[in-house]
C-alpha cells in the first residue's frame, strides 16, 4: 500500500468515525499541517455527507441556546480575550497553509516576509509563543501581555491522553534555565492567569516556555518529567 492510498484510507476512516481516540487525536493534529491529509478529509466529508442528511432530526431541549449564548458572553468578557486567541489561532493556521503550499526554502522566505509585513504590533506589549512539533504532537498557543503580565494558553490541536495532563513551564536566565511551573493546562478551557506578575517583563520576554506531558495532577517532582515542547515569545501579529 503506497502513502497516497494510506492517507486516503486514514482520512476515510477518520470521517467514517471508526478510529480510536488516540488515532483520532493524531489525525486531528496532523491535518493541521498536512494539506494532503486535510484535503482528503474534506473530500470524504463531502462524499459521505448525504448519510448525515438521512439521520432523523431531534429537537434539542428548550433553553440550550441560552446556555450557548451565556458561554459566548463569558468567553468574550474574559480578560485577554478568547476571541483574540482564536483570531491568532486562525492566522497561525493560515501561515501553516501558506508555508505548506511552497517548498521548504520558499516557505521560510514567505514566512519571514509575511511576518515582516504582518507584524506591526498595535500593542507592543502583546506577545505570542507557538508550541509546535511535526507529526503527532500537540500544538499550543500562548499569549502574554507583558504590560499586565497576563498569560493565556490554548490547546490548538491537542488531545490529552487518558490519565495525563499538560503542564506549562517557564525557564529564565534568573532561574539559571531551570524550569518553573506555571500550572496545568486544563482541557478545552483557555487558561488566563496572572502567574507572571512575579517576573520582570524583560525577563519574561527572553524566557523559554515549555509544555510537558505529565501524570494527572502535574509533575510529581516539580520539574518536567515527560516529553516537552518549547517555544519563545514573538511580538503578536496584528
Amino acid at each position: 500500500m503506497n502513502d497516497r492510498e494510506d492517507i486516503d484510507g486514514l482520512a476515510a476512516e477518520y470521517v467514517l468515525g471508526t478510529l480510536d481516540a488516540g488515532e483520532r487525536a493524531e489525525v486531528a493534529a496532523r491535518r493541521q499541517r498536512e494539506d494532503d491529509l486535510d484535503t482528503a478529509i474534506g473530500a470524504w466529508e463531502r462524499r459521505l455527507a448525504p448519510l448525515a442528511e438521512a439521520v432523523p432530526p431531534a429537537r434539542p431541549p428548550a433553553g440550550l441556546f441560552q446556555k450557548i449564548e451565556a458561554r459566548l458572553a463569558n468567553a468574550a468578557g474574559s480578560a485577554t480575550g478568547t476571541g483574540q486567541v482564536i483570531e491568532l489561532e486562525r492566522r497561525v493556521r493560515r501561515w501553516r497553509n501558506l508555508a505548506a503550499a511552497a517548498s521548504a526554502v520558499a516557505a521560510c522566505l514567505l514566512v519571514v516576509i509575511g511576518v515582516r509585513e504582518m507584524v506591526r504590533p498595535q500593542t507592543p506589549s502583546s506577545y505570542v509563543a507557538v508550541f509546535q512539533k511535526d507529526d503527532v504532537s500537540p500544538a499550543f498557543l500562548l499569549s502574554v501581555d507583558l504590560e499586565t503580565r497576563m498569560l493565556s494558553i490554548r490547546m490548538v490541536a491537542a488531545e490529552r491522553p487518558p490519565g495525563k495532563t499538560y503542564q506549562l513551564w517557564i525557564a529564565t536566565e534568573q532561574s539559571g534555565g531551570v524550569p518553573q511551573s506555571l500550572g496545568l493546562i486544563e482541557e478545552r478551557a483557555d487558561i488566563t492567569r496572572t502567574v507572571l506578575t512575579a517576573y520582570d517583563p524583560t525577563v519574561v520576554q527572553k524566557a523559554t516556555f515549555g509544555v510537558s506531558l505529565e501524570p494527572a495532577g502535574g509533575s510529581p517532582t516539580g520539574r518536567p518529567t515527560g516529553p516537552a515542547l518549547h517555544a519563545k515569545l514573538i511580538p503578536s501579529p496584528r
Binding site: T18, R24, A49, A52, E53, P56
Partner: protein, 181 residues
C-alpha cells in the same frame, strides 16, 4: 422551510459576528445537528453538552467556511460528528449488551434506494452503497450514523478487529472509485 441558500446567508452573517443571525441559524439547524450527535452518543445529557460546544465552534469558525468545499449544513454536520465521535471514543466502549438500541438500527434504516425524495447526492451515494455486499454496506452505515468503532463492529460481526479494518478500508476505496473525487 429553510433552504441551503438561507443557511449560507445566515452563516455568512454569523462570520460577521451577527448574534441574531446566529440565533436564526440555531433555529434552522439545531434539530438536524442534535439528531446527528444524539444518534452517535445515545445519551441526551452528553448530546446536550456536545451540541453547545458544536455551536460555539460554529460561531468561532464561521469565517473559515468555504462554499466551494460543500454545503453549509454538511460543514456544520462534520463539526457535529467530529465532536460527538471525540466524545464517544473518550468514554469506555459501551458493550453492545448495554446498548440494546444499537442492535435494532441496521434493520430499521431504510434501504437507501427506498426513499425517492432523497437528494441527488444521496441517490448517487445510495447506488454506490448498493454496490457493496450487504454486511459491508451495513457496517459503513452503522459506523457513520451511530459511531460504532472497529472494536464494536468486530464484536457485532464476530470477526477480528484487523479483518474489520481491512473490510472498512476496502469498502471505502470501492465507494470512492464509484463516487469519484
Amino acid at each position: 422551510m429553510t433552504t441551503a441558500g438561507d443557511v449560507s446567508a445566515l452563516l455568512r452573517r454569523v462570520a460577521g459576528r451577527d448574534r441574531s443571525a446566529f440565533a436564526a441559524l440555531y433555529d434552522a439547524t439545531s434539530a438536524k445537528l442534535y439528531g446527528v450527535v444524539l444518534r452517535i452518543l445515545q445519551r441526551r445529557d452528553l448530546a446536550d453538552d456536545v451540541l453547545q460546544e458544536v455551536y460555539i465552534r460554529i460561531w468561532e469558525r464561521a469565517v473559515d467556511y468555504d462554499a466551494d468545499k460543500g454545503t453549509p449544513i454538511a460543514w456544520m454536520a462534520a463539526i457535529a460528528r467530529n465532536r460527538a465521535l471525540d466524545e464517544v471514543r473518550r468514554k469506555n466502549p459501551v458493550s453492545i449488551e448495554d446498548a440494546p438500541e444499537t442492535l435494532e438500527i441496521a434493520g430499521d434504516d431504510p434501504s437507501p434506494l427506498d426513499n425517492l425524495s432523497l437528494s441527488q447526492d444521496m441517490q448517487r451515494l445510495a447506488r454506490c452503497l448498493d454496490g457493496l455486499e450487504a454486511d459491508k454496506r451495513d457496517m459503513v452505515l452503522l459506523a457513520y450514523r451511530q459511531g460504532l468503532s472497529r472494536e464494536e463492529l468486530a464484536e457485532r460481526y464476530a470477526r477480528p478487529v484487523p479483518t474489520i479494518k481491512t473490510w472498512l478500508r476496502r469498502s471505502l476505496a470501492q465507494l470512492r472509485d464509484c463516487l469519484g473525487p
